[in-house]
């Protein structure tokens, strides 16, 4: 879009503003504070796929065409995730955070933006191997109910499993990864006992408030899609929702470099973006 004349850029901005406003008014999903380039790329993507000439046409379809809004919302939610994504993070978590958790009578974990649940299952496996699963409750939330439905099943494509096995082993897994799943020709089905104490719920970080006090908040590679203001706002939400000495885990490209938030945390494992809230 850089090559476009200024005039055209302003028009595009206006169109996107209008489109996002319409989406918000129609669905309640607020993308107005999302990272603008990303959103505009997602829109272009949809336009390319459906052969739509202008964003205004997208707007028209959003308003008038049944199902198009849902389609677009799905486009906007990017659900890229893996099991034991960034294995070193899980390794660090085992090493640095788990010892703290052993003394807790119960552990509440909020996995914000869990997408299709790969990391939720990873965490469940990790907790089970560390003997913490029974006293832990994982609240896995995402704004997209479709992906939550997928997550609840604990079924992942079989062709990802080779990569996941590698991740699991690098993450310091204690057993054979195959002990946790069964397969058919298409999918790997994770053991239903892993689902125990996992609560999947729809929650929108942009518009919804905190719903409990947590010992751990995981929100990995979600904030990158937000504008700085929104990131800051979500960070406030997190710091409010964390108990004292609670842990905040972010994605490897994310930080808490916000002026107001920094003093509330200390780094536990800087490279893995594990922070601890201080009193």
């Amino acid at each position: 879009m850089d090559g476009f004349p200024l005039q055209q850029k302003m028009q595009t901005d206006l169109e996107i503003d209008l489109l996002l406003e319409a989406i918000f008014r129609l669905s309640g999903f607020d993308f107005r504070q999302y990272n603008r380039p990303s959103i505009s790329r997602r829109i272009s993507n949809r336009m390319r796929m459906d052969n739509i000439p202008t964003i205004s046409h997208v707007l028209e379809k959003v308003i008038h065409e049944n199902g198009f809004l849902e389609q677009l919302l799905n486009d906007f939610s990017i659900n890229v995730t893996e099991m034991f994504r960034n294995p070193s993070f899980f390794n660090a978590f085992r090493r640095e955070v788990v010892p703290y958790l052993r003394d807790y009578p119960e552990i509440r974990i909020w996995h914000a933006g869990c997408a299709t649940g790969e990391e939720v299952f990873s965490m469940a496996i990790l907790l089970q191997e560390e003997g913490l699963k029974d006293k832990a409750v994982i609240y896995a939330t995402d704004m997209n109910e479709q992906v939550l439905e997928k997550a609840k099943k604990g079924v992942f494509p079989i062709n990802k499993m080779q990569a996941y096995t590698k991740n699991y082993m690098l993450a310091g897994g204690h057993h054979a990864f195959s002990e946790y799943y069964k397969t058919d020709y298409q999918y790997a089905y994770f053991h239903p006992s892993l689902l125990k104490n996992i609560i999947f719920a729809q929650h929108n970080l942009v518009t919804d408030q905190s719903f409990n006090e947590f010992h751990i908040i995981m929100c990995r590679n979600v904030l990158i899609y937000f504008s700085s203001d929104l990131q800051n706002k979500v960070h406030y939400l997190f710091s409010e929702s964390l108990s004292n000495n609670g842990f905040l885990c972010l994605g490897d490209k994310e930080t808490i470099r916000f002026e107001d938030i920094i003093p509330k945390y200390k780094e536990i494992v800087g490279d893995e973006k594990i922070y601890q809230k201080i009193e």
């Binding site: 790329r41 062709n159 080779q162 096995t165 054979a176 069964k182 990158i224 930080t255 470099r257």
Partner: protein, 914 residues
């Protein structure tokens, strides 16, 4: 304070002393007077007394003179004596008057004097004068006569006596006076003492009063100062002194000092407060808001605005960053330039401006109730390195006092630095955020790309699959109908054929056995009769031959019976009748049967039955005992020394699997343990098959048909149970019969389900087979076959049984199996055969173990993407780590679970792209 007369401490003390001195003076004066009057009185007494004495003496003398001169004249007639006489008569009178006057106030003494005077005059008239007259007239006789009587003499004596009495009286009165004086004297002494005491008391009172008045105020002051020191509130108390003295001065001075200190403290406190408030703020707007709100509160300002310099394209402009207003929020212009308006002027001149005369039309301060014009405005430039970097404007309704102004001035001195550092930090943060945003953008783009490619993949995948499936379906549909028909026909045919074959076989066996029995019967009877040798017409040798013929015939009969049983079982003709059986009798019966054998072979034989074994057990007693006898005779047969044990146990609920529970809740486990030759592991499976023994040598040594165990196995199956074996060569064997109590018999289809429990040579194989049996029941799906179809799997394991079990299971799923017994063989195969899709690698192997083999494959042969699945011992983290290090793609723990193995194979055989 001013209307009070100033009474200093010095004056107080002086006054005290003066009072004391005055008292002293007064007492001295009084005493002096007293003493003087006493002295005077004494002097008077002394003088008066002596005078009286003198005068009386004079009078006496004159009287005497008169007498003597009268006598002289009388005697001599010399007129000179008369002179003296008269002279004395004169003097006497004057002295007497004098004396009379001396006794002026004393009538008694005057009385006495008058008596004296009368006596004297009596003498004169009676003695003196007449004698003199007589002489002059020379009347000697008269004189004689006169002296003869001598009246004069008596008078004289009276006078003397009278004087004497007077004098003693005077003395007595003087003595009284002296006594009076003495009394007064002692009074003076007492008075002196009294005054002394009085003055002392007065002095003490004064000293006390003065010191108390001084000390009291001092104590008050000290107390107040202590209170002030102790008080924590910023508003300290003040020293109040009621007296007007130096202490008052001290108090006033101290109060002034306190005022100054308080003001200074207020200033410092507020500065500190403001500084603390804005400490740690990293955003300029927040900083400005905090600062402005603080400063406005401290100065009681009603309006305020905060402007920060922003330089854009050499254009200096001050932009509003914060506003403070009691009631409204749109205070102040948005921005201004240098020199623009008062505030611009202030920024230009870098000077603090205060305006108290505010024009009427200046912006009004709004409250919820109305609007009030501000009284004064205060514009302060905030300077950093000689540049104005921000400007604060404040307005108030009350006016800024000096203190507030000072506060503002002091606060902004350091605030410039803070603003500058915050601006700097914000700039750094902005740059940092930019770089972070770029990183995030990159991450996001890559994620999006991944998402997109995934999406595309999924879509193409979906489309292709749908197309393929559609095509296949049509083809399959046609093909299947044909195939199905054919298969059906074939199945029917083969079923018939099978049935026929089996029937033929069983019938043949049954017939043959029967046919064999008849001649055998005669042989047995006749040989027995011969062996008895009742007529003793046979030689010993011949009788012995007959015995051999008999016993061989019995063996043969037993064999035929076995064959008959087996054929019946296989033909399904063996009748099993489930009925009540008394378990308590079993040990006794078995004991009776086998005790002689044990004694003969010199073996120990123990039978134990657990107490919880129920007495009533439903099974086919005949077949049950047949199994037991078979197992026991085997045990005795293959045991040369040691013991044979029979143990009957009831299985607990927790030991029952679901399948078992479905069948019955009551299960027995009968174990026959011996210390015999044992069975090598690879023969475990074999010995249960018909006509099989461990090896030829055994047959040669121990004999037997090898049918016993296979019949036991079949019988156990028919009773709803199974037999399993644990044995090690040379250590003995343990056969375990597990059977249910079945009051209602067993349904035909249950046999199939139970079949999975059938004997396995080892746990692994056992489990694999179990899974296999289950899997056989299911139909492999089309896709299943596709994933595994034609895949070359290399199994590297030194345990033949494992290989055998794995091979069976995997070949059923369409995989082609290659086998290597150790690492070296594995590497050989790898080099000669390039088409291997996956390796199952055992770790513990002779020659070249799994770790080394994998390392060589990965590093020397440089084959990195071939999946190698390590088969590791369970719960050995070390094993896993080592195998991963060596290059295993995944690992799976022994004993192998077939389902898990198949899952893992699917994962690693499925192509990543599909």
């Amino acid at each position: 304070m001013f209307n009070k007369l100033k009474v200093g401490i010095r004056r107080k003390i002086t006054l005290g002393y003066i009072v004391i001195i005055l008292c002293l003076l007064a007492s001295v004066l009084i005493l002096n007077n007293q003493i003087i009057s006493l002295q005077k009185e004494r002097n008077y007494i002394i003088k008066n007394n002596s005078h009286i004495h003198a005068v009386t003496n004079c009078i006496e003398k004159y009287i005497l003179d008169m007498e003597s001169s009268q006598r002289g004249f009388v005697i001599t007639g010399e007129p000179s004596y008369l002179e003296t006489y008269y002279e004395a008569g004169e003097k006497w009178r004057s002295d007497f008057n004098e004396l009379y006057q001396l006794f002026e106030n004393k009538p008694t003494q005057q009385q006495k004097l008058n008596e004296i005077k009368a006596t004297i005059e009596h003498w004169i008239t009676t003695s003196g004068e007449p004698s003199i007259e007589f002489k002059k007239e020379n009347k000697a006789e008269a004189i004689w006569e006169l002296y003869k009587v001598d009246v004069g003499r008596k008078d004289m004596e009276t006078v003397r006596a009278q004087f004497e009495s007077l004098r003693s009286e005077v003395n007595a009165s003087m003595q009284a006076k002296v006594n009076d004086l003495d009394k007064r004297n002692s009074i003076v002494t007492h008075t002196l003492l009294g005054i002394l005491v009085f003055i002392s008391v007065v002095a003490i009172i004064i000293a006390n009063g003065i010191s108390r008045s001084i000390v009291k105020t001092l104590t008050q002051v000290t107390q107040t100062i202590q209170e002030i020191a102790a008080s924590k509130s910023s508003q300290k108390g003040r020293i109040h002194v009621r007296t007007n003295d130096e202490i008052n001065d001290l108090a006033v001075a101290t109060n002034e000092l306190l005022d100054i200190l308080e003001r200074r403290e207020w200033l410092q406190l507020n500065i500190a407060e403001i500084v603390t408030k804005y400490q740690g703020i990293c955003a300029i707007t927040k900083l400005a808001e905090t600062f402005l709100s603080e400063i406005a509160q401290k100065t009681q300002s009603s309006l305020g605005a905060f402007y920060v310099r922003e330089t854009t394209d050499n254009n200096i402009q001050f932009v509003k960053k914060a506003a403070f207003a009691d009631a409204r929020d749109d205070v102040g212009i948005e921005s201004f330039k240098l020199g623009q308006g008062l505030i611009g002027q202030c920024a230009l001149e870098k000077k603090i401006l205060i305006y108290n005369d505010i024009p009427e039309d200046f912006r009004l301060i709004g409250t919820s109730l109305g609007e009030v014009p501000p009284k004064s405005i205060f514009i302060v430039p905030i300077i950093f390195e000689n540049d104005v970097i921000a400007v604060v404007e404040l307005a108030t309704m009350t006016g800024f006092n000096e203190q507030q102004q000072r506060l503002v001035k002091q606060v902004i001195e350091t605030f410039g630095l803070t603003i500058n550092s915050v601006l700097g930090r914000m700039e750094i943060v902005r740059l940092l955020n930019e770089s972070r945003a770029m990183t995030e953008e990159l991450q996001m783009q890559s994620e999006e790309l991944q998402a997109q490619s995934e999406e595309l993949q999924m879509q193409t995948e979906e489309l292709t699959v749908i197309n393929e499936q559609l095509e296949e379906r049509t083809n399959e549909a046609e093909l299947k109908t044909r195939e199905l028909e054919q298969a059906k026909r074939e199945l029917e045919e083969s079923a018939e054929q099978l049935l026929l074959n089996s029937n033929y076989k069983s019938e043949f066996l049954a017939n043959m056995s029967h046919e064999l029995r008849t001649p055998l019967n005669s042989i047995l009877i006749l040989s027995e009769m011969l062996a008895e040798n009742s007529q003793s017409n046979l030689s010993d040798e011949e009788a012995e031959f007959a015995k051999v013929i008999h016993s061989s015939g019995e063996d043969l009969l037993a064999l035929i019976n076995d064959i008959l049983d087996l054929s019946k079982v296989e033909a399904g003709k063996l009748d099993i009748s489930f009925d009540e059986m008394n378990m308590s009798e079993v040990p006794v019966q078995i004991e009776q049967t086998f005790a002689p054998v044990a004694t003969k072979k010199n073996l120990q034989f123990h039978i134990s039955k657990e107490k919880n074994v129920t007495d009533i057990f439903f099974t086919d007693e005949k077949r049950f005992k047949q199994i037991l006898k078979n197992l026991l005779s085997n045990a005795f047969k293959f045991t040369e020394q040691g013991s044979v044990n029979l143990e009957i146990k009831q299985l607990g609920q927790e030991q029952l699997t679901n399948n078992m529970q479905d069948l019955s809740a009551d299960w027995l486990e009968i174990t026959v343990t011996d210390t015999g030759i044992g069975i090598p592991k690879d023969k475990h499976q074999l010995i249960f098959e018909s006509f099989q023994q461990a090896d030829g040598a055994i047959v040669r040594k121990y004999g037997g048909t090898g049918l016993g165990l296979s019949i036991c196995k079949e019988l156990a199956r028919l009773l709803g149970g199974w037999i399993s074996l644990q044995s090690e060569e040379g250590q003995g064997s343990t056969f375990t019969l597990t059977i249910p109590s079945l009051p209602n018999g067993i349904e035909e289809q249950k046999y199939l389900e139970l079949a999975i429990h059938e004997v396995g040579a080892t746990n692994e194989v056992h489990e694999l087979e179990e899974e296999e049996q289950l899997s056989e029941v299911q139909e492999f799906s089309q896709h299943e076959v596709e994933v595994f179809q034609g895949k070359n799997i290399l199994i590297v394991d030194d345990d033949y049984r494992n290989i055998y079990a794995l091979k069976n299971a995997l070949e059923k799923r369409g995989m082609d199996i290659l086998v290597a017994k150790d690492g070296i063989e594995c590497l050989d195969i790898m080099q000669s055969n390039g088409g291997i899709d996956l390796i199952l690698m055992d770790i513990m192997m002779p020659n070249l173990d799994g770790y080394e083999t994998m390392s060589i494959i990965r590093k020397q042969l440089n084959i990195t993407d071939l999946p190698i699945i390590a088969l590791t011992a369970k719960a050995m983290k070390n094993d896993r780590d080592k195998s991963l290090e060596a290059g295993a793609s995944d690992y799976i723990s022994k004993p192998l679970n077939l389902d898990q193995l198949i899952s893992v194979l699917r994962v690693w055989l499925v192509s990543k792209g599909s």
